[in-house]
């Protein structure tokens, strides 16, 4: 029934994208939302930013194939479009590390099994420096300890709320299977709400 698999460790190269408040319109511009499937969105991730900035992290050949996206604060703010994490995911991103994430974006990521690790400013600065000093290094993100290890540069502590952490580790991040379990309780709650029968006596 479930699409979920356990998400415990993620390995891969990192791509660092600086800047606060990078919103979902920038991750995937609205014109690419004119679609009926998510296929092909990966090609358009950050399209407008990339056109305006030849040095954009997603334009650099060295970053192709990276699977960990390291960002600053309030990443993914703005629209609730799941097209944003879908585009990143289809580009190749499997996990994010950042100062903070907008809530809907964070939830959308969890629902796809993509962890977003929060990391304080100092620790994040050190992590970014370590990535720079070790180009091409394969990072390891460990969900249980909420930490990132850069080979040769040590480990960096992040945080992830207990609920999503457990969902990722147990493979229950796809909520649907869990929600489907309680059919009779859903009916009971529905019929106890007076508006579901238009307040008729």
């Amino acid at each position: 029934m479930s699409n979920s698999s356990k998400v415990q460790k993620i390995q891969g190269r990192a791509v660092v994208l600086r800047g606060n408040d990078i919103d979902t319109d920038r991750i995937i511009p609205a014109r690419f939302l004119r679609c009926v499937t998510f296929d092909g969105l990966g090609d358009h991730a950050f399209e407008d930013d990339r056109l305006q900035d030849p040095n954009h992290a997603f334009n650099q050949g060295a970053n192709a194939g990276a699977s960990v996206l390291v960002v600053d604060d309030n990443f993914g703010c703005g629209s609730s479009r799941e097209h944003a994490p879908q585009a990143l995911n289809r580009w190749g991103i499997r996990a994010l590390v950042g100062g903070s994430f907008a809530e809907i974006f964070f939830g959308n990521c969890v629902a796809l099994g993509i962890p977003c690790l929060k990391m304080g400013a100092e620790e994040r600065t050190r992590l970014m420096a370590a990535i720079k000093a070790n180009p091409g290094a394969e990072l390891e993100i460990d969900i249980a300890s909420a930490s990132v290890t850069v080979p040769g540069a040590g480990s960096f502590q992040g945080e992830i709320p207990a609920g999503p952490q457990r969902q990722l580790l147990d493979g229950t991040w796809d909520a649907l299977a869990v929600l489907l379990e309680s059919a009779s309780q859903i009916d009971a709650v529905a019929s106890a709400l007076p508006y579901t029968h238009r307040f008729q006596a």
């Binding site: 029934m1 800047g19 606060n20 408040d21 919103d23 319109d25 920038r26 511009p29 609205a30 014109r31 939302l33 004119r34 009926v36 499937t37 998510f38 407008d48 056109l51 305006q52 604060d73 309030n74 703010c77 703005g78 629209s79 609730s80 479009r81 799941e82 994490p85 903070s100 907008a102 809530e103 809907i104 939830g107 959308n108 629902a111 796809l112 207990a162 609920g163 999503p164 457990r166 969902q167 229950t172 796809d174 909520a175 649907l176 869990v178 929600l179 489907l180 309680s182 309780q185 859903i186 709650v189 529905a190 709400l193 007076p194 508006y195 579901t196 238009r198 307040f199 008729q200 006596a201």
Partner: protein, 466 residues
């Protein structure tokens, strides 16, 4: 024990606590549109699931709909394809679709209230971040992603972590020329675009008490721009009066019973909050955003802040905004020339918004440099406005009068900025590229301020135009 509306609604809709620590929450009303639903239906089908409560989901067409010719098939083949998908999905699953032919089509957050679907004490979800709008009725309304749209279709439930609750208290009267839009822009300016992360907002105080339902809709609409998960105003007699006689409101025989339940869901005296923020309505002047997020705003009489004045962690964003907008620190916002004026969107595309703007432009002319447009939030708003002759008032002044839709709020349709154009807009987002040109610029303000800017050809203080 005294409880808040938020707690009462949360409790009444709790199915169970999940192992993840989240709550399985029943969703009373599910609204869908063409952009975020096709993939959800596809996922449902891949799993062989049905829509669990088809009569609790309603659909409309808004984001991609052209506001010029609406003859089908649409000129844009992709827009047509999305429309057909929604139509087929609704038909297959028995979902009511407010399509163009119904005469009731409009922006999802305009038609929910208009049809009486949005009611106090409900949980509401929609695959759209501005679902917070519906909180104006004392509903708890969440914007969700497409995977969650699938969850609601399949189970009428969401797995949600309960946010904390902040009371945003504003007291006092608004000065003439200052509107609900200015209040919410001022709140976001003070608390910041991240200030609401982890919170639901309860808007309380005499300023909100005195607001009409439509004004409350404007305020709640932008809760999400301040980072809050949702925002609401407690239901009162105005809420009840607004709902009476609406197509999907309870019938006459049951209406009083409904009203009693609705009012009973309001926060009790002595309810507790995790945080409290206060603002004085008298201190709010007409607001204008100058930057690239809705928190970067100033009063119309003020100057764009100097980078040295902003907090350390906002400084990079400040510089980025100045550069993108091509503004100078310390520059007055008043007098900034505009190219486009847009009145519309789920923030300010309702009847009262159009009336205020029409009153200002009546007998005046749009500045020759400015391309100005009015886009009603729904077909019913358009019809009512036409009945009152507002379309003529706008057209005589030099505005285009267009058909209902999201239009230039996000430009997924033919309405777009060109190049570096600057748009005075009554919508809710000034992100880079939001209005269709990657380098286009947006100044958010109230519909009255947009009307004033359209006439003057530049940002101007609407209070001087009365």
């Amino acid at each position: 024990m005294a409880a808040s509306l938020f707690d009462k609604v949360w409790e009444a809709h709790t199915v169970r606590e999940l192992p993840s620590g989240q709550t399985q929450l029943f969703i009373g009303l599910h609204l869908i549109h063409e952009v975020t639903s096709p993939q959800a239906f596809q996922m449902l089908e891949e799993r062989g699931l049905k829509v669990r409560f088809p009569d609790r989901t309603f659909a409309t067409l808004d984001h991609i709909v052209p506001t010029g010719s609406q003859v089908r098939p649409f000129a844009d083949a992709l827009a047509e394809e999305m429309t057909q998908h929604l139509h087929a999905n609704c038909q297959k699953h028995g979902i009511r679709f407010f399509d163009l032919a119904s005469g009731l089509q409009g922006i999802v957050h305009v038609i929910g209230p208009e049809q009486g679907l949005t009611q106090p004490g409900m949980t509401i979800a929609c695959g759209d971040s501005h679902t917070s709008t519906h909180g104006a009725f004392g509903a708890i309304a969440f914007g969700i992603g497409t995977t969650q749209v699938r969850d609601v279709l399949a189970t009428q439930c969401l797995a949600m972590a309960k946010p904390r609750l902040r009371q945003v208290r504003v007291d006092g009267d608004l000065a003439a020329g200052v509107y609900a839009k200015d209040v919410i822009l001022a709140i976001i300016q003070r608390l910041g675009v991240k200030g609401g992360v982890g919170y639901a907002y309860e808007y309380a105080g005499t300023t909100f008490d005195r607001m009409s339902i439509e004004e409350r809709l404007t305020v709640c609409n932008m809760s999400i721009e301040g980072g809050a998960r949702c925002g609401y105003v407690n239901p009162d007699q105005k809420t009840v009066d607004y709902l009476r006689g609406r197509p999907h409101a309870p019938g006459d025989a049951d209406f009083d019973r409904a009203a009693k339940w609705w009012l009973g869901m309001a926060s009790d005296q002595g309810a507790t909050y995790d945080d409290l923020f206060r603002m004085d309505a008298g201190a709010v002047e007409p607001m204008v955003t100058w930057g690239i997020n809705p928190g970067q705003s100033v009063g119309v009489s003020q100057k764009i802040p100097r980078t040295a004045e902003v907090e350390d962690d906002s400084r990079a964003g400040h510089l980025e905004a100045l550069e993108f907008m091509d503004f100078k620190e310390g520059q007055p916002i008043s007098g900034v020339p505009i190219d486009v004026a847009f009145i519309g969107s789920c923030t300010n595309g309702r009847m009262s918004d159009l009336e205020i703007a029409a009153d200002l432009v009546r007998g005046r002319k749009v500045h020759p440099r400015v391309k100005a447009m009015v886009v009603p939030g729904s077909m019913l708003v358009a019809i009512e406005a036409q009945k009152r002759g507002l379309d003529k008032v706008f057209q005589e002044a030099g505005f285009e009068w267009r058909a209902a839709g999201c239009s230039m709020c996000l430009a997924m349709n033919p309405d777009k900025l060109q190049g570096r154009e600057i748009c005075a807009s009554s919508s809710n987002r000034n992100f880079k590229g939001r209005q269709g040109s990657p380098t286009g610029r947006t100044l958010l303000m109230s519909p009255a301020m947009v009307a004033a800017a359209a006439i003057a050809g530049e940002v101007t203080d609407v209070r001087e135009m009365f």
